[in-house]
Symmetry: C2
């Protein structure tokens, strides 16, 4: 939070604040008929399917303001929702943004949050069309709902994977989790004297993966250009294992993935080594990478292999074969969903 | 919260919990193509306008669990969103429900919350199509987004009021606020010994107005039957004064309303008397009644007068005349937006 300029939110009140934060919003999409300022936003999608996804982020559970700049938080809050729409093979078009905040936040804090939000919306051509701004007794709560569109026959669900389909992922995995571990380790430094700065050189990539993730619009576009419609797809927010098991359970299939094929960045591997963690475990269960996990028919093998940024990591099997990882030394281990679960016993 | 059966949420985890709460949901609307269970819900509205509204409710700010049963809270959380869709002259079709909860809540608590939610959805024929269930370090946070539809030429905004239009409200005002005052007064009793029960006889109506409000679908239907399309409309959540000033400012008009024409229930008046409060002030600024405030052309006077449950309370003027209340003794007082503002200085 900013320390220098501090304007109390009470000076504007709810309606004044909303006006202040949304006054320069220009609507980008013709699907947005009316945005902020009435009881509801008015949208128009003609013959398209309408996609709706929502996320609720709570301070202390989903983010730690000790090391998360509010602008990054705004950016990430929007991105995680866009990612869900891309994971349906759709295009995000609008978001509503609800925030509850306690007295320790000032108008300048919210301006920063909105700056990140607007930047994400700019990059992905999304309109902010409404929301709710209210108070909280304790921390910050952020709820974003994203509305997207897709051609009727283009929507991709989790339940369409078939035996022999290839399992693909975009980008690399485990980086966001390693970034989080690094930030948590250095947290004491952030909280301590201001002159001491942790040395993050050589770790910029994993920090960026945690603090400023991106949604893979580019992958959706490349697949469309190649004329490939995945048979199933979802985004990796909770971890590869967990998501793959969702696809297999909803598609009634099994799967085999190869440890050696899981894409891992150099910085992720170095950080895991430094922390004495198994990097494959991090990539399987880390979460928050917001990469796309999808399946394509075996016949698309050649075509998919030529697309940059996509890696084939295994294949779909009949359900009775279960879900397993094949290790570098050719052993099979049953996959377990050990991904991030905010409701499990700590 | 229930004291008897208590099953910890950790026994189910996030996905188990969502499955448990949503397993018996039957989709009601053909506009809902796919509900809970994927990255996003899939909806289809053909030639209709799509309406989107959202609300974020925080424990201790918007509700007090000392006297609010979780089933009622579920019902109300849904209703306040439906009300916003009706206020656009639309029909609510789907909601997404996000909840963040701390460890003091158990599965039985959430079942009760969902019971109320499902009841509201049953009454208004709305589908629960998604959401997010996560944890909170402190209280309960509820974020609901409602999607509705309307014929293209039927959407009613706040900005369409014209000079000489009649100002109408449905139902009666101030009751929800009086119910809240009563509950707050008796709160100490709730918190005290279990054998002591406050005597609420003769106050059932105002308690119901606070704890179990209704959204005025019936009024929207009656207006449609009569062939009347309001020139402007919104729902009264923050108080009549505040809402009327929104309509006038967005429509660039003034207004005159008559104190003697503001509809007030007998129980509301009695409670105000008991608490030594001015009942007109309560009706003007109380909020949470979720009645509809709308304007119709002067030519609709005769027709609107025959519709039960609608009262004409004044008329729209040119902007330079400002917004004023005409009291019983024929004095003019400028209206002030003193409605509920969660962000103002306490």
């Amino acid at each position: 939070m900013q320390e220098t300029n501090r304007t109390e939110i009470a000076t504007l009140g709810e309606f004044g604040l909303i006006k202040h934060l949304t006054k320069d919003i220009q609507l980008k999409n013709q699907e947005t008929r009316y945005g902020v300022g009435d009881d509801a936003a008015v949208l128009e999608f003609k013959d398209k399917e309408v996609l709706v996804t929502t996320d609720l982020l709570m301070e202390g559970v989903h983010f730690d303001l000790v090391y998360t700049p509010l602008k990054h938080l705004g950016y990430k809050s929007a991105i995680v929702n866009f990612s869900d729409i891309y994971a349906m093979n759709g295009t995000p078009k609008q978001i509503t943004v609800s925030i509850a905040l306690s007295k320790r936040f000032c108008i300048e804090d919210l301006e920063q949050f909105y700056e990140g939000l607007k930047l994400a919306c700019e990059v992905h051509q999304v309109d902010i069309v409404g929301g709710d701004t209210t108070s909280s007794l304790t921390g910050l709560a952020i709820s974003i709902t994203c509305i997207g569109e897709a051609e009727k026959d283009k929507v991709v669900y989790r339940n369409g994977a078939h035996d022999t389909d290839l399992i693909c992922v975009s980008g690399d995995l485990g980086g966001a989790y390693m970034g989080l571990q690094l930030l948590e380790r250095e947290k004491t430094v952030f909280q301590g004297e201001k002159e001491v700065h942790p040395d993050f050189s050589g770790k910029e990539y994993i920090l960026g993966r945690q603090l400023k993730p991106e949604a893979r619009k580019d992958i959706i576009e490349k697949l469309a250009e190649a004329g490939i419609k995945p048979t199933s797809m979802m985004d990796i927010s909770d971890g590869l294992s967990s998501e793959l098991m969702h696809i297999c359970s909803q598609s009634n299939t099994g799967c085999r993935i190869y440890e050696e094929r899981i894409p891992i960045d150099y910085q992720t591997a170095v950080m895991a080594e430094e922390l004495n963690m198994n990097v494959t475990t991090c990539a399987l269960n880390g979460g928050e990478d917001y990469e796309l996990l999808f399946t394509v028919p075996l016949t698309a093998h050649e075509q998919i292999s030529t697309i940059e940024g996509i890696r084939i990591i295994g294949y779909i099997t009949r359900p009775e074969l279960g879900c397993a990882l094949i290790t570098r030394d050719n052993q099979e281990f049953e996959l377990k969903a050990q991904g991030w679960n905010p409701l499990k016993e700590k």
